[in-house]
Structures are given as C-alpha cells and as structure tokens.
Symmetry: C2
Subunit: 378 residues, 2 copies
C-alpha cells in the first residue's frame, strides 16, 4: 500500500549532520528543514493563502484540531470538502491532535486510560477526546499529516508522572494507528514524549518506531526547561528515530531554537511566536528584534528590515508601522505578521543552502555572534 | 493662478439631472459620482493600498484631520513626506476638517468665535482648533482636497442655534480661505450648513459661493433626520451651488442614500458604514444585506455575493467567512471590508453608466423594488 507521504533524504551536512530533504505529500512537496506557520482556526492570523504562498513562501501550514473541533466543528469542515477547501489552501496541511490544548486546560480536564474529559474554553460545555475520537476528527478535517493523541508533560515533572504519561501516550499512539483508516491520504505521526528523562525518551522513541509510523514528532520540549537541557534531550532523542522518516519538533519558532533543532536532525518546526509577537508590535529582523511599537520608532522612516524581500519591508517605514500598531489598526498586524513569517521562511531557505554546502555550523556561529539576543522570546 | 483641482461636467442625466463628471487633481483624475472609502487613521481599516486600487478600485480616499493631528501628529506625517508618502497611497486624498469629531466630543469641548477648545479622546489632553490651526494641520497632511473648519449641527436643533452656528461656519470658512497658502497643491472646499432650515441653507450656500471655493460640501445632513427631509433639504441646497465645481455630501454611505444624493446633483460621498459593518460581520450584496455572522450561514457554502467580482466573492464561502467572524479572525474583517467597499464602488460604476445613458431614474426605481431593505443601516 502506498503511504500518504514519503521522506527523501537529499544530503546530510558534513559539519553538523543536519538533514536536507523533501517530504512528498498529496498536496505537493515540502523542502526541509522547514518552518510551518500556524493557522489555529483555519486561518494563519491576518494572512490570505495568496500572501502565504507568494510573499511568505510557506510550503505547509499547521492547524489545530481542538479549536476546529469546537468551532466551526469538524463536520462543517468535512461538508466544505475538508480543511484545504474550507480555507482555500491547496498546499500541505498538518493538524495537531488537540492534546496540548486539552491538557493545558488544567482544572477543566480529567484524564483516564480511555481519554480526556474536558470543558470547552468557549462555553464550558463538556467533551471527551479519546485516541479514536481524535482520529475521527482529524480524518474529517483532512490534513496531509495528522498527529496521534498524546499528553504533553510540562516542566518540571516527576519521573513517575512522566513515565506513566509517556507509556499511556504510547498506548494511545497504538490505538490511533489502529483507528486510522485514511492511510493513503493522511500520514499519521507518532509523538515521542518522556520529559527530560533520557531513559524515558529512549523507551518512547523505540516503542513508537516499533509501531512503524510514517513520521515522528518530538513533543514535550520547549515547555519551560533551560535551553541547554532542551538541546541535550533533543539530540539524545533523535538518534533513535529512523533516517528515512521526517522528524517534527513541536512548538518551536524562535530563530535560535529553529537552528538548534536543525543541528540536531529535525526537519519540521512550528510555532505561534512569529504571528503572536507581530500582533503585539514586535518584528524579527536581520538586525535583531525590533519592538516597533516603542516610541523610538515614531520618526524612523527607514524600512523594517533593510535585508528583507517581503512586501512590508519593500514598501513601508517603521514610523508608519509604529503608528498603525499604536492605533490598533489591522494593517499593522498584517504587515508585521507577513514580515515575521517571511523572516523565518527565509532563514530556513538559508539553512537549507548551508546544509547543502556543508557549512551549517559556520552559519550558526555567525548567527549567534552577529544577531542573537537573549530576550528574543517575549 | 492654476487651481489645485478642476471639475469637468461631462453629462447631465436627462431623466434626473444627475451629474457625470471628472475631477482633475494633482494625484490623478476622479470619475464622478464617486464613493470615497474612509481611512480614518491613515489606513482604510484592514486594507492595503494595492487592495484598494486593484480590488476595490477606489479612486480617492478620505482621512481624518482630528485623528491624525492627535496620532501620529501632523508634523510626523509632514516629515514622512505627507500623507500620500506616509501611507503609500498615490491617488487623491481628501481630509476632513476635524469639526465633526471635535463637536462630537460634547462635554469635552468649548466653542468660541475664535475656535473650539477640546480634550483628546485618547488621553484627555487639552487642544484648540481654530480655522487657521486646521489649515496648518491640513496643509501639513498634504491631501489634494481639504475642508474648511465647520460646525456640524445635529438633529433636531433650534432655528436660532442653527443660524448662529451656520453664520460662524461661514466666518470660519472665510478665515480658512485667507489662511490657506498651498492653493496650487490643495483645493479648499467650503461646507454648506444650515440644518433643516431652507432659508439658512440658501444663505449659507450663497455666502460660500460668494467666497469662490474650488468645491463645495453639504454638511449637517444624515444626522438623524428622516430620509425624506434629508432628500428635500439636499435638493433645495444643491440648486444654489455652481455647476462647474464638485459637490460633496459628507457622511453618506448606504446604497440608497448614495443614490438619493446622486439624484440631487451630488458628485462625491464618503462614509465609514461599509467598513464598520464589515468588521461586525455584515455584508452588502446584490441580494440585500447578509448578516454573515448569523448562524443561518454556518453551512452556507455559496459565495457571499454571486454577482460580485471581488476577491472575497470569487474565492470564499459564506460558511468560511461566518467562521472567521465568529472566531474574531482578522481575515474575516479583511474579506468583508474588501467586499463591502467593492460593492459600493461597483454601484457607483453602474450609476455613472446609467447617467451617461440618461437612465438613472429607471435604475433607481428598480433598485428600490428589487433590493432595498428598510433596516439597511445598523
């Protein structure tokens, strides 16, 4: 049986081992490593599909099962012809499994072996997610890549809690695989958990690889732990993942974390960071972070990022964007969102070239020397 | 001395007397009658200049002196090279005089012969607008058409209050004309006031025509009076305005009011209505008003307006736009704003053709029979 997606490893960087590849999907090829913009509610906030394709040059976007299940409801998306049709995006889509959102509801949810009972953050109504239910929702949504139902354990967590949770996540992954019917159209990824404990990470990875998924995610990282620890656990984990399958690090989107992920063999990343900070008035630029909402940019008639090729940077001044953000104008959010996303896709274009040229380590060192700011994440 | 703008009357509709013309401005020609989208804070909410030109096909936009004076401040706009440069709009711009906003502040303002003292709605700081001050601000902003400082009297108002206010508005118009220096780049319009009293309207119009402005606005209508009264006063007023100058009815933007205005010899209209109702989830369509945020559109997979040529109608379903509006997504506001503006510019394109064909009355009758809804304004 033909799998929904396949991964082709083109080159490994001789300096770092970072992977340059292609993921073949029902909606086209994805050049990796890749950053995936997040379209939580069937829209990448403030963007049209045309802008994502022509300006951002996004190859794949992510959308959220939890949010779409609650609103508009997966049945309406299915009636519309699936998520691609509904939101008019004809390139690949990945849906998460809702686990992260459901478990984030803290006092609004109750976990059992069967699944998770939770209350909607919208209206307090009661719902139940099991691995089987999540598969039904993700199949109705119709993304190219779908995620198995997992628990994302926070930091810090005890060994015992993490072990029990990881083992249940593996059992749920097995149930997802058994429930998943549309294997020729949608590729189901397993999610490696295990917190900051290496033996648990190893166990999780090996058990999931045994189940033979078409791709693997690393979950439960960048959840508050120190950066060194994230890098260490990630590097340790990826060694157990097969070379012929794509690897996705969930929820990472600052420039430095993206680079660290790629250095450790990751192919795909996603994060709401670039779109969220845009709406707050912050830009990521080749000159570092620019908090354009600050008064210092009131009379700055230069472009946001002189080295950027995006619509925003080619056309507008910092002073104008500053004004739009201060005045809470939608165009301000649009211009910054477009730029921040393009900044990351350009970074990844560069990263792909550096891997091909066996030069990624040199590039990353230069990045830290010339660019990196401690307070990047806000 | 060459005036900043000139008006060319091309044709008068034999059925109605409605005017088909061209206004020549420093930033290009405007085919009239015309609807002008409002860009209150140096941006037509949610739109880029490219969208306004290519999709909406807007020929001129309006911006607000009061808002730009307070934020970012007219001096910053001037430093940017003027409003056209600041917001990257290379077609004509009209700025109002701030009178409407300042007088709307009710208990925050104090009127004298010299001008109006008011408190900012943003931070409560004190400011003073005189005719001379308003001219300085509008000259710094650099629009092609600027308005003289007036008081817009509400409805109802006493004869005495309206008379005193109208006479002061005329004195202020004279002071504006004397203070206005950039006459070759910017055309200053006088604003006819006089409330619902015909003798005051006649007096106001005649006094302003005596002052010989390059264009005239009719203010103080559509301020709460019955529609019949608006139509009656408007028709009475326009007879006193010269045929070789453009006529602008301020603050009118519902389809039926636009038609009524054109029937009575008006060339230009503006209103925030189409952009404001868009953000609330309402569309104006060839099938009447569509409150797309209502649950009835949850599963409506047809286009917003099957007869519309805009990006929104060519690409998206009502169900998707409904979802975006319910989820408070920026894209929802974008799609509806674009459509609502295009709906009015298309209506005016049609109106221009009907005038040329001496058929406007027939068209308007058909409009009321097939289309009009009492509750249009919301």
């Amino acid at each position: 049986m033909k799998p929904a997606i396949t991964y082709e490893l083109i080159h490994e960087c001789k300096q770092t081992g970072a992977r340059r590849g292609v993921i073949h999907t029902p909606h086209g090829d994805i050049q990796t490593p890749i950053f995936m913009p997040v379209g939580t509610q069937a829209t990448v906030k403030a963007m049209t599909p045309e802008e994502l394709k022509e300006e951002v040059k996004a190859q794949i976007i992510l959308s959220n099962t939890y949010h779409l299940y609650l609103r508009p409801g997966e049945k309406i998306v299915k009636e519309a012809g699936g998520l691609h049709e509904f939101m008019r995006w004809d390139r690949p889509i990945l849906t998460d499994c809702g686990g992260f959102q459901v478990f984030s509801l803290s006092d609004l949810r109750k976990i059992s072996e069967e699944g998770v009972e939770f209350k909607s953050h919208l209206d307090g109504s009661r719902h139940f997610f099991s691995p089987e239910k999540v598969m039904q929702i993700e199949e109705d949504l119709g993304a190219d890549i779908i995620m198995s139902f997992d628990e994302c354990v926070g930091y810090p967590a005890t060994y015992e809690y993490t072990k029990n949770s990881m083992e249940r996540t593996t059992r749920w992954a097995k149930r997802c695989k058994e429930a998943h019917k549309t294997t020729e159209k949608q590729a189901l990824f397993g999610i490696v958990q295990g917190g900051m404990f290496k033996d648990l990470r190893e166990q999780s990875a090996k058990d999931l690889v045994e189940l033979d998924f078409p791709g693997y995610a690393v979950g439960g990282l960048s959840v508050g732990e120190p950066k060194d620890m994230m890098c260490d656990v990630l590097a340790f984990t990826t060694q157990f993942l097969p070379k012929d399958k794509p690897r996705y690090l969930m929820g990472v989107g600052s420039p430095d974390y993206l680079l660290e992920a790629v250095l450790r063999g990751i192919d795909m990343c996603d994060c709401v960071l670039p779109t969220r900070i845009a709406r707050n008035g912050t830009a990521t630029t080749s000159q570092g972070k620019v908090v354009v909402r600050n008064a210092t940019y009131e009379r700055d008639f230069s472009s946001l990022d002189p080295n950027c090729d995006c619509y925003t940077c080619k056309n507008y001044t910092r002073a104008y964007i500053h004004h739009l953000i201060k005045a809470k104008e939608i165009l301000g959010a649009r211009l910054l969102t477009l730029h921040n996303l393009r900044f990351l896709t350009r970074l990844m274009e560069q990263v792909r070239k550096e891997i091909e040229n066996d030069n990624l380590l040199t590039f990353v060192k230069k990045f830290y020397q010339e660019y990196y700011q401690e307070d990047w994440k806000q």
